[in-house]
């Protein structure tokens, strides 16, 4: 643990936020102190109270904001205080409404520091300043990601491990989620799947490099699904995908070779060409929206798996950790990634996942805020 309860030199004024403004989603973590004394309560200004009440008494904000209640970390000690860490997300498209809310709730009067990471910290910096009179502390998103991840793993998930993997990944029947610990996390290949994908080789808390990235990420899945099926949300897209059959859309090895392509050791069930069947009009006319959603999901996931695996081999790292909001409520992808890592590496690589998938950047931003208070 790199922050302890005695680490703070002075009491940091509330509210404590960490924010990660991505291409598609804004992730917000909010520390709700549960150890507020009566005295404190007395002194607490109205605007602060109203923020706290607004955030903790709702699970949805406006049309699109959501608090992931199932993820909250309870009885968490941070910087000498005990409380609950809340995890909130809303689309980046609603950022301007959020900034306006900040102005309406007179956030700037609280004299708190707003730590933000992600590209939006840069993009919206001037909007925060001009609209809400708020000065953002901009933080590097990869630093935040790694710090947040290591922190959440270290405090655990309300008494359970944060990390998990899939046992028997190649057997759909026997494949089960198993909690595990990231006790010795380094080196690890960290694959962050947001709108796009970043692949990092992490050697210690502060020693990492961005190995590569791909533009085929969660944004591509959702974007293509919207265009192909007319769906509007990630949840809707995943719901459809879970019911679809990608083999009606993709061309498999056996569709070409009648079975396995033995010359090259390719299984008949392997995808030879994603969307390959869609070259034919008859096929295009005979598939469902669900099939298309499933194929899109499988295509994007396999591709990320393939790049991750190649990077792991090139960097000689056996532990591959997948994070990011693409994996939220997305067991199709997590299982597929687990299978792909295991199968193509002949058991050499293991895919690991974390419960708080997409929130580590925001947690990292919050940690920076608290760390700032540590320094004299």
């Amino acid at each position: 643990m790199f922050l302890n309860t005695t680490g703070c030199l002075w009491i940091l004024s509330f509210p404590w936020f960490g924010m990660d403004i991505g291409g598609t989603l804004v992730k917000l973590v909010y520390f709700e102190p549960k150890d507020i004394t009566a005295e404190e309560e007395q002194e607490e200004v109205e605007s602060l109270k109203s923020i706290r009440r607004y955030l903790t008494s709702n699970v949805a904000y406006g049309k699109t904001g959501v608090r992931d209640v199932h993820l909250e970390l309870r009885e968490l000690s941070m910087c000498g205080r005990t409380g609950t860490l809340h995890f909130i997300r809303f689309p980046t498209a609603a950022m301007h409404r959020f900034i306006q809310m900040g102005r309406d709730k007179n956030f700037s009067s609280l004299h708190t520091t707003l730590c933000a990471t992600g590209g939006g910290a840069y993009k919206f910096e001037s909007d925060f300043r001009t609209t809400a009179d708020l000065e953002l502390v901009k933080l590097d998103e990869l630093d935040c990601l790694i710090h947040g991840l290591l922190y959440v793993d270290s405090v655990g998930f309300n008494g359970h491990p944060e990390c998990y993997y899939f046992e028997n990944p190649s057997d759909t029947q026997a494949c089960v989620k198993q909690p595990c610990s990231l006790a010795h996390p380094f080196p690890m290949l960290l694959v962050n799947i947001g709108s796009g994908v970043s692949v990092l080789a992490v050697y210690s808390k502060d020693n990492y490099k961005r190995v590569t990235g791909t533009s085929l990420g969660g944004g591509t899945f959702l974007g293509l699904c919207c265009l192909l099926t007319g769906c509007e949300t990630f949840e809707e897209a995943l719901e459809m995908a879970s019911k679809g059959d990608s083999t009606k859309v993709d061309k498999l090895v056996r569709d070409i070779y009648g079975g396995d392509y033995q010359r090259f050791g390719l299984q008949g069930s392997a995808v030879a060409s994603s969307f390959g069947h869609m070259m034919s009009k008859e096929r295009r006319d005979s598939i469902s929206r669900e099939d298309l959603a499933r194929a899109t999901l499988v295509t994007i996931t396999n591709n990320i798996g393939s790049i991750a695996r190649m990077c792991a081999v090139n960097e000689k790292i056996e532990r591959v950790v997948f994070v990011g909001n693409f994996l939220r409520i997305n067991t199709v992808s997590t299982k597929l990634l687990a299978y792909a890592m295991d199968f193509w590496s002949k058991g050499q690589l293991r895919a690991l996942f974390l419960e708080h998938e997409g929130y580590f950047g925001a947690v990292g931003a919050l940690l920076e805020l608290l760390k700032a208070s540590e320094d004299p």
Partner: protein
């Protein structure tokens, strides 16, 4: 995995009535020996091997018994006999056409197939299964299926080894879009990324050793399939056209859309795509077909490029070739792949493409069937007359060409009689470039030379007819030749990259190929004969004059003689005009035409100093023209070298080109000269003067493709001097060639444009004596 059978099912039921222009397309079918076919998703590639009967000019000395003395012969009897003989050579034909034509083509082949020895047709490609019954029924040949990937690799190895300028890098914004690479002596190891419906990444380590090290399901089929869904556009080519008009930034989420600018600390520029199709998830708006197609193209190209780089790095390979129907010469896909590779490797790896990429499978399948003939043992040469050239059937680029030959694309390769290898005296064979000016890049020069060759065409036609006066149909054939070569020039105007880098050499070679195609094997044979005759008469007189001179005077006279002889060149338009109007244009007159010293390039003083030193061990002399040049210029010069104790190897063309002296002619001439000149006679009998053939039939010289025998002789004799003479060999080619021994390049610039470019006037002299720096150090 490059097959996509179902996709084309619909289009086949359409019955198009097609008339084939047969004499252009399935040439020599009656002599076809062996077939192979590669049927892809939309294109069929047919390969066959045929023997081509064509006329070759032969020279033959009259019987020795009949030969009495030189004096007698000179009284009107020609010194040798020219005959035109039929010769049979082997040729590989490859034809690429749309699958729609397959039935028509099979019918055509059936009707024209005379040879029935063939029982089997090798087949590859996904469509081979589908069309198996049709082929067997129509052609009565058994279809023998070959593994697609093995064929592809075999074909790839073959073109990499045999076709100069096969490989190119694509630069959309460069001076020329296509930058061709020289044939590399060692082609292995390399990575082949075949983008069919999916992607296969194959590592090739040796002729028969390759491994599929990876692949991806996101390939051409994904572009086509997803593209069809997104844009309701059915055809692959149309999708590409849509893409080339689109703007991906309205669909893709860029780094700057997230950051507002660049992500500086990671070096990610603002224009980088952060999330493909990322904007189509958030914006509630309609996207244009063009923009979606473009975004899709970027997504797929980048993804393939990234995987290729990861595999290249993992296996430590720097040569990465891209092929498959996704590439197939489409500029837009070559551009996006190139961009991606450049981005992901930070410029360390270049994406390489192949001119004959579409034919690899068919070539490989054919080679598999022809293994008993050992086709890999021979050298093959691309026949420019019978090959369509890069992008010739691209409808966008060249609608005219498309109209002319339908959508049929052809490649023909001639089996060369000789094995060709590098000259062992090249300083660095991998960086040697024969041609001095790359006309693909030099637009002004290209304009000039294309016009020049066009203007010279009338004269060539006239001479071709004159060389076959006894044949009444010669005029008709010559007309066909004119049409063919004019079309080639026209094609090259639009696609200077059609046959690799456009050079003066390739323009000359193309002309020779076209002449041969219409059975004008040697239009200059009679002219050469006459000139040789005339020159022989003066040989002894010239020798006598030279012998009367002091050593110093003789050396300059020998060089001037060599240069004067070089003025006699029908290849140069300025000279052919004079020669035709004034046949008495004599040797002396030629000398007067020469520029006075100092010449345009003049290192004569160094040469003379060198001659005062120890003799060279052996000189290799690449000779040029017949007549005055070889007899009155080269022989006296060679004689002087011999007298110094230097052995001489005279290298002449194997086949005719313009008025260049051929090896056959040179043998007879040497015999005649030896009869007059005891010094030459003695050198011949002592084996100090040797005649070899260059392996070439070009007025230019490619030192990386020379007869293997020549290379052996050069090595065995310890050659330490190379003399290259004439515009074609020393100016248009090899002007900058770096040799590992001393070299002498000399020529008279008989083209005012070129002279002007080099900073001189017409009949300027280039005398370039060079000593490599390594040897210089020893002195």
């Amino acid at each position: 995995m490059a097959t996509y059978v179902e996709a084309v099912r619909g289009s086949h039921s359409m019955d198009k009535s097609i008339t084939l222009p047969p004499d252009e397309i399935f040439r020599n079918l009656e002599n076809a020996k062996r077939f192979a076919i590669d049927i892809g998703g939309s294109l069929t590639k047919l390969a066959y091997y045929s023997t081509v009967q064509h006329k070759v000019a032969k020279v033959r000395s009259f019987d020795h018994a009949a030969k009495v003395s030189f004096q007698q012969e000179s009284d009107g009897e020609p010194l040798y006999e020219i005959s035109v003989q039929e010769e049979i050579t082997a040729r590989l034909h490859f034809i690429k056409f749309e699958n729609t034509y397959i039935e028509t083509c099979l019918d055509f082949i059936k009707d024209h197939l005379v040879n029935t020895e063939t029982k089997v047709i090798k087949a590859t490609g996904g469509g081979a299964y589908k069309f198996k019954d049709l082929i067997e029924k129509k052609l009565k040949l058994k279809v023998d299926k070959e593994d697609e990937m093995s064929c592809l690799i075999k074909g790839c190895n073959f073109v990499l080894k045999n076709i100069p300028h096969e490989v190119f890098v694509y630069a959309k914004h460069g001076d020329s879009e296509f930058r061709f690479q020289n044939t590399h002596p060692d082609i292995f190891p390399y990575l082949l990324v075949n983008i069919g419906s999916g992607v296969s990444i194959v590592k090739v380590e040796a002729e028969d050793r390759f491994e599929r090290i990876g692949g991806s399901s996101i390939g051409g089929g994904t572009f086509w399939g997803l593209g069809a869904l997104l844009t309701k556009t059915k055809r692959f080519d149309e999708l590409l056209q849509l893409a080339s008009r689109g703007q991906h930034t309205s669909v893709d989420m860029l780094v700057k859309d997230i950051y507002g600018g660049a992500y500086g600390c990671l070096g990610l520029t603002g224009d980088l795509i952060a999330s493909s199709f990322g904007k189509s998830a958030t914006a509630e708006k309609e996207f244009s077909k063009e923009d979606m197609a473009k975004s899709l193209l970027h997504m797929i190209s980048n993804d393939i490029g990234q995987l290729a780089c990861l595999y290249a790095r993992l296996h430590n390979l720097s040569r990465v070739y891209f092929g498959g129907f996704f590439i197939r010469g489409h500029p837009v896909t070559m551009h996006t792949i190139t961009y991606s590779i450049n981005y992901f490797t930070k410029g360390e790896v270049q994406a390489l493409f192949l001119r004959h990429e579409g034919y690899l499978g068919a070539i490989g399948a054919f080679l598999k069937g022809a293994e008993e003939d050992n086709p890999n043992q021979y050298c093959w040469g691309e026949n420019y007359a019978g090959s369509s050239g890069l992008l010739s059937v691209s409808p966008e680029l060249n609608p005219m060409q498309r109209e002319r030959s339908g959508t049929f694309d052809m490649l023909e390769m001639d089996r060369l009689e000789r094995q060709l290898v590098n000259l062992p005296l090249l300083q660095d064979s991998s960086s040697y470039i024969p041609d001095t000016v790359d006309l693909t890049e030099d637009t002004l020069a290209r304009e000039y030379w294309l016009c020049c060759f066009e203007e010279a065409l009338d004269g060539v036609v006239k001479r071709a007819i004159a060389s076959q006066k006894d044949q009444p149909e010669a005029a008709e054939r010559a007309e066909k030749f004119r049409q063919k070569y004019r079309d080639k020039l026209q094609t090259l105007r639009h696609q200077p990259f059609a046959y690799g880098s456009l050079t003066v050499r390739s323009l000359l070679d193309t002309r020779e190929h076209c002449l041969n195609e219409f059975n004008f094997p040697d239009p200059y044979s009679k002219i050469k004969q006459k000139e040789n005759d005339l020159a022989l008469k003066s040989y002894q007189r010239v020798l006598k004059t030279l012998e009367e001179l002091s050593w110093e005077q003789r050396q300059i006279a020998l060089v001037r003689g060599l240069l004067a002889g070089n003025v006699f060149d029908w290849g140069a338009k300025a000279v052919s005009d004079v020669l035709e109007s004034d046949p008495e244009f004599g040797f002396e007159k030629a000398k007067q035409q020469l520029q006075e010293r100092p010449w345009l390039v003049d290192t004569y003083n160094q040469w003379i100093e060198r001659l005062k030193g120890p003799p060279h061990k052996c000189a290799l002399f690449f000779v040029d023209n017949s007549g005055m040049d070889i007899i009155l210029g080269v022989f006296p010069f060679v004689r002087e070298l011999l007298s110094r104790g230097t052995e001489v190897v005279l290298a002449s063309n194997s086949g005719p080109a313009l008025n260049d002296v051929t090896n056959g002619e040179l043998q007879i001439l040497t015999e005649r000269i030896a009869a007059m000149d005891p010094a030459i006679q003695a050198s011949l009998s002592e084996d100090r003067l040797t005649l070899v053939q260059s392996g070439s039939s070009s007025p230019c010289l490619d030192l990386s493709r020379l007869d293997k025998v020549l290379a052996t002789v050069v090595r065995e004799r310890g050659t330490d001097l190379v003399v290259i003479e004439g515009m074609g060999r020393a100016i248009h080619t090899n002007y900058y060639a770096a040799l590992s021994c001393e070299s002498l390049k000399l020529a008279v610039i008989k083209n005012s444009w070129l002279a002007d470019r080099l900073g001189g006037k017409i009949f300027s002299v280039v005398f370039k004596y060079e000593v490599p720096s390594i040897i210089q150090g020893h002195h």
